[in-house]
């Protein structure tokens, strides 16, 4: 299978700021390609150009070896669909949301019914048809958005950080739905993420993107197998640290990430590595508690972001960590910027890449 969608030397400038700088990328039919990069690296712009929402300032977009122009843009747009990072829904029922694109394609009522049912099953939203979409929880809303995109059976599906700011349960359902769609419907998927762990688990290929440029494209083992300078420079990626690993006698590895912070992991490796801890794997407590967790750090809260049912805290413990907890825990612990807390996570939930 050849490349179905292609960017050729695409540059995009917004008000004098270069969001994408001479990017060429081939997307193969049926693959999952992950764009991995920090916030502001140009991931969203790349997706919006592929969705034909933005026109490149320079360069060309090809869909199935045909150049996209103003004249064929409307027809070309029917080949792809996109799920936005910020969930966007029509103020109507779940059914009408999912049916929108099918009705635009003038499908018969029976077909629409069938396709909506199939898409809702894939996103595990059976029985939600008559609910008002905007009254659902954040995670369910994003699943409606995903179902709406899946219903179209488009050749290319673009996902912009689909699980960012979601609780782990909904994030998992969305990841599984994406994998199912790719396997069963052969949908080609391009997904942007700044979560390195997600990038490692889901895709066939990864493109590293930083400062509007794609620096490396390869399989996860190619990208993560060697110590990548680009990867290490992704300081903006959550809980990703570059460090030096040393094998300990007890079968664990100790990674020195600087500033007197050492992280223990059960993966055995030595030399230069990148370490990643998922923000939801870190347990927060006000007092030092005795537990089986090998990694315990004392730190101070330096930032709080509210995402509805969850809260993300930035904690300075020599290095800055991001910790995700439920809003309920957050309220019960009465945390504030400046609060001193203990972070604990198991050596087995530390990933070396």
């Amino acid at each position: 299978m050849g490349s179905t969608f292609e960017l050729r030397s695409v540059t995009k400038v917004f008000d004098g700021i270069t969001a994408l700088n001479d990017v060429s990328l081939q997307i193969r039919s049926g693959e999952i390609l992950t764009l991995l990069g920090p916030n502001g690296s140009g991931k969203s712009t790349l997706l919006r150009i592929l969705a034909l929402l933005e026109k490149p300032s320079k360069g060309e977009v090809y869909f199935q070896n045909e150049k996209v122009t103003d004249r064929n843009m409307f027809r070309m747009r029917l080949e792809s669909t996109m799920v936005f990072q910020k969930t966007t829904l029509f103020s109507t029922t779940v059914y009408n949301n999912v049916a929108y694109g099918l009705k635009i394609r003038k499908m018969s009522k029976n077909r629409v019914n069938e396709e909506v049912g199939r898409a809702l099953r894939l996103a595990r939203l059976e029985g939600f048809e008559k609910r008002q979409a905007k009254k659902l929880s954040g995670g369910e809303q994003q699943r409606v958005a995903l179902a709406r995109a899946l219903a179209l059976n488009a050749k290319l599906m673009l996902l912009d950080e689909p699980t960012a700011n979601l609780d782990p349960k909904n994030a998992l359902i969305i990841e599984e739905t994406i994998a199912d769609a790719n396997r069963e419907l052969k949908t080609t998927i391009v997904m942007a993420t700044h979560n390195m762990f997600q990038a490692k688990n889901l895709p066939n290929r990864i493109a590293l993107i930083n400062d509007g440029k794609i620096s490396e494209v390869g399989t996860p083992s190619e990208i993560f197998g060697k110590f990548s300078t680009t990867l290490a420079s992704f300081a903006a990626l959550e809980n990703t640290f570059a460090g030096t690993a040393k094998l300990m006698g007890d079968g664990t590895t100790l990674v020195d990430i600087g500033n007197n912070v050492q992280i223990a992991t059960t993966t055995q490796k030595s030399g230069s590595v990148s370490v990643f801890v998922s923000p939801e794997d870190i347990i927060l407590s006000e007092d030092l508690i005795v537990s089986s967790a090998r990694n315990v750090f004392k730190g101070r809260i330096v930032g709080i972001s509210d995402f509805g049912s969850i809260a993300k805290l930035r904690i300075d413990a020599g290095k800055q960590f991001v910790v995700q907890i439920t809003k309920r825990s957050f309220n019960e612990m009465q945390l504030n910027v400046g609060s001193e807390v203990y972070m604990a996570f198991k050596a087995s939930s530390v990933h070396l890449v």
Binding site: T81, T88, S91, G101, I104, K135
Partner: protein, 236 residues
């Protein structure tokens, strides 16, 4: 004092006995203002969509003009339209002066700035991504614009109600281009004016009660709809 009380009692008698003239005036008022509002929506909403969704030079100026015109004195507009419709005027050949059609056109012009300004605000308040969302689902430019308009429907509805309110309660345009001819162009406001001048205070009061009831009814409906709109808004 007894004269007023007497007038009110007789007014209720007229209303509840089904006085043909009172009903005739009321129905004409509803018809004329309703038609004027519909016309204003038909040409005002597309203008609002252009103002809200497209960028062009002088856009701010156009918006400013429309919001200023909301407060135009009805008598001044009535006079201008009188000159336009009168025999020597540019549209004199249509012979529309002193017809219900003239009032409909005049009131439509009067309330257009309300429709345009309110609807523009409502459409601008819709999430900008709705347009892009519709496009990623296969919508053409015009289909995507309609998706945005659908999201703003509550606001457009409010614009329509506010316009109807203004149309049914205004006197200047109806009097100057309609003439308040009994049985032909008489509406609630011109009827009140005419009957008060004639000394038929009970008919004037009856028409006044009906007018107030309509305006109060509309405002009540308006506040209920607004409350629903707040309830329907996403909690985040």
């Amino acid at each position: 004092m007894t004269e007023i009380l007497d007038g009110i009692l007789k007014a209720f008698e007229l209303i509840f006995s089904g006085d043909p003239r009172v009903y005739d005036i009321t129905l004409r008022s509803l018809y004329v203002s309703g038609a004027a509002t519909l016309i204003a929506i038909l040409w005002g909403v597309p203008i609002a969509m252009l103002l809200a969704l497209r960028n062009f030079r002088g856009k701010l100026l156009v918006k400013g003009v429309f919001s200023t015109l909301i407060g135009v004195p009805t008598v001044a507009l009535g006079l201008i339209l009188y000159l336009v419709f009168s025999k020597g005027g540019p549209l004199g050949f249509l012979s529309l002066l002193y017809t219900p059609t003239a009032i409909i056109i005049g009131e439509a012009v009067l309330v257009t700035p309300i429709v345009v300004s309110f609807a523009t605000t409502a459409i601008e308040a819709v999430d900008r991504e709705i347009m892009n969302l519709a496009k990623t689902l296969g919508a053409s430019e015009s289909q995507a614009s309609i998706a945005v308009l659908k999201e703003a429907l509550n606001g457009v509805f409010l614009a329509g109600i506010a316009s109807f309110n203004r149309a049914i309660a205004e006197l200047g345009v109806a009097l100057l281009v309609g003439g308040g001819i009994v049985g032909w162009t008489e509406v609630l406001t011109t009827g009140i004016e005419l009957e008060t001048a004639r000394g038929n205070i009970e008919i004037a009061i009856a028409l006044g009660i009906i007018l107030l009831a309509i305006v109060f009814g509309i405002n009540l409906a308006l506040s209920i709809i607004q409350r629903r709109a707040i309830w329907a808004a996403p909690s985040s």
